[in-house]
Symmetry: C2
Subunit: 266 residues, 2 copies
């Protein structure tokens, strides 16, 4: 038995998110099916980030156990031939049987894109949100400047996903405009449900001039979802990368002693 | 009666090209229908560039005549509410009744994008072609350097579209790589059927090292389609812009005395 780590990219447009669910097709479901066919045994992957419907990924991570003899690094190539073109494995490798994609400390990087021009651009509609009005980029940068550090991000979490600690550490943010596309990148040790989209929606309010940038501080302190801006559209969000400690897994985030790949144990 | 010029952007993925045809839905057909509903009269647009199935546009141009009283610059906004999200008007204006999108000298700019990395990226699959192997960017630039100037581009034209002169003037090309995306832009006074895609396919051969860059000169001189590279995939091509003379239409390219907006007169 060996454990395999996959780096998974997908266009989330046509999926009901990552995680298997009864109401529609998901990335995980398509991946499980393709892997099971390829390796001729029933495979259940565990994903690092359960992205929402419509959210994209360049580097989500999925892990599974297999008895198949195919070398870990060859699985990516073989699996890609069995996947639809909106899902592509970016790499595969054998990892320690102790590696769990969610119990290991990670650094996650997300990008939110806002197309800011008079008319929307059909060729860029699926991986950005569109805003036609003027946006003050400096105000957005200033507002984003309140995010880095260890804070309670309860104001930036969807109410329905709010069990457990809402404290997270943001390592940094970047915000820039290239032609008419505003790119907002945020890196942290973890993100609450809808957190990046609510942050994007709040930065947009700062950019429109509805709120002064300093309001970001008050929103953080309020620990109240209703104080933050609206949840920005899913299609603008891409999970860029999940970095794992290179040499030794760091188990500070472990919740139990088992390393079983069971979704239920999270 | 007034003549209106539209700047039209579209994601060509789901269309059988620009021009109305019996076998599938086209951009022109959708546009004609939405305009006819909006202006409550039967509208027939004439396009500047009849892009192929799967080709995208940020700035194609369409012109039509109407008796409607709606001001020219308002039509873009009203029309966009009636169009599917993969077609978006970027601007509308009233033009001289003598303006014809194809009989006026224009400068057209196309872009061909090649995603060059080990694994394809699902979020960028619809507006670029994918190539996994190593590409020599300098060789591609050198090969593209043979294109500017007035040449007979017969070698770079699909055989089925080869009536009339095959001489065109290329004003310039640009080729650069940004992260893992190679951008090739080409500007000229006109392009033959499949010309940019055949050029892209030929540059790819130079990049792979199959052909020395100098072969571009021999291909041009051969005036023989079979000497050039394969036609690169439609999805990598975007019509970026069509520039018209700003002050006075230049009628050197006129083929007759009429300015009737009739597709058949071309």
């Amino acid at each position: 038995m060996k454990r395999i780590k996959l780096t998974v990219a997908y266009d989330g447009t046509n999926y009901c998110g990552w995680q298997v669910q009864p109401n529609g097709i998901t990335v995980q479901e398509v991946l499980n099916r393709a892997l099971s066919e390829l390796l001729k045994e029933e495979i259940h992957t565990v994903g690092a980030s359960r992205t929402d419907a419509g959210v994209h990924a360049r580097g989500n991570v999925a892990v599974f156990d297999t008895r198949a003899r195919m070398p870990g690094d060859k699985i990516a190539f073989a699996l890609n031939t069995r996947l639809p073109e909106d899902i592509r494995i970016q790499g595969s490798q054998e990892v320690s049987p102790e590696f769990h994609p969610r119990f290991t400390s990670t650094v996650k990087t997300y990008e939110y894109k806002i197309l800011n021009r008079t008319f929307s651009d059909p060729t860029r509609r699926q991986d950005s949100m569109f805003w036609y009005g003027a946006l003050d980029l400096e105000a957005m940068k200033e507002a984003a400047g309140y995010l880095p550090g260890t804070h309670d991000f309860k104001s930036f979490a969807a109410v329905q996903g709010a069990e457990g600690s809402t404290v997270r550490t943001i390592y940094g943010t970047r915000l820039w405009k290239e032609d008419d596309m505003i790119h907002f990148q945020i890196q942290g040790n973890g993100f609450l449900y809808h957190m990046v989209r609510i942050i994007a929606g709040t930065l947009l309010e700062a950019g429109k001039g509805s709120w002064p940038a300093e309001r970001m501080q008050q929103i953080l302190e309020a620990r109240d979802r209703s104080q933050a801006g609206p949840t920005a559209r899913a299609c603008g969000l891409t999970l860029l990368e999940i970095q794992y400690p290179e040499w030794e897994p760091d188990f500070r985030n472990r919740k139990d002693d088992s390393f079983s790949l069971n979704e239920a144990c999270v």
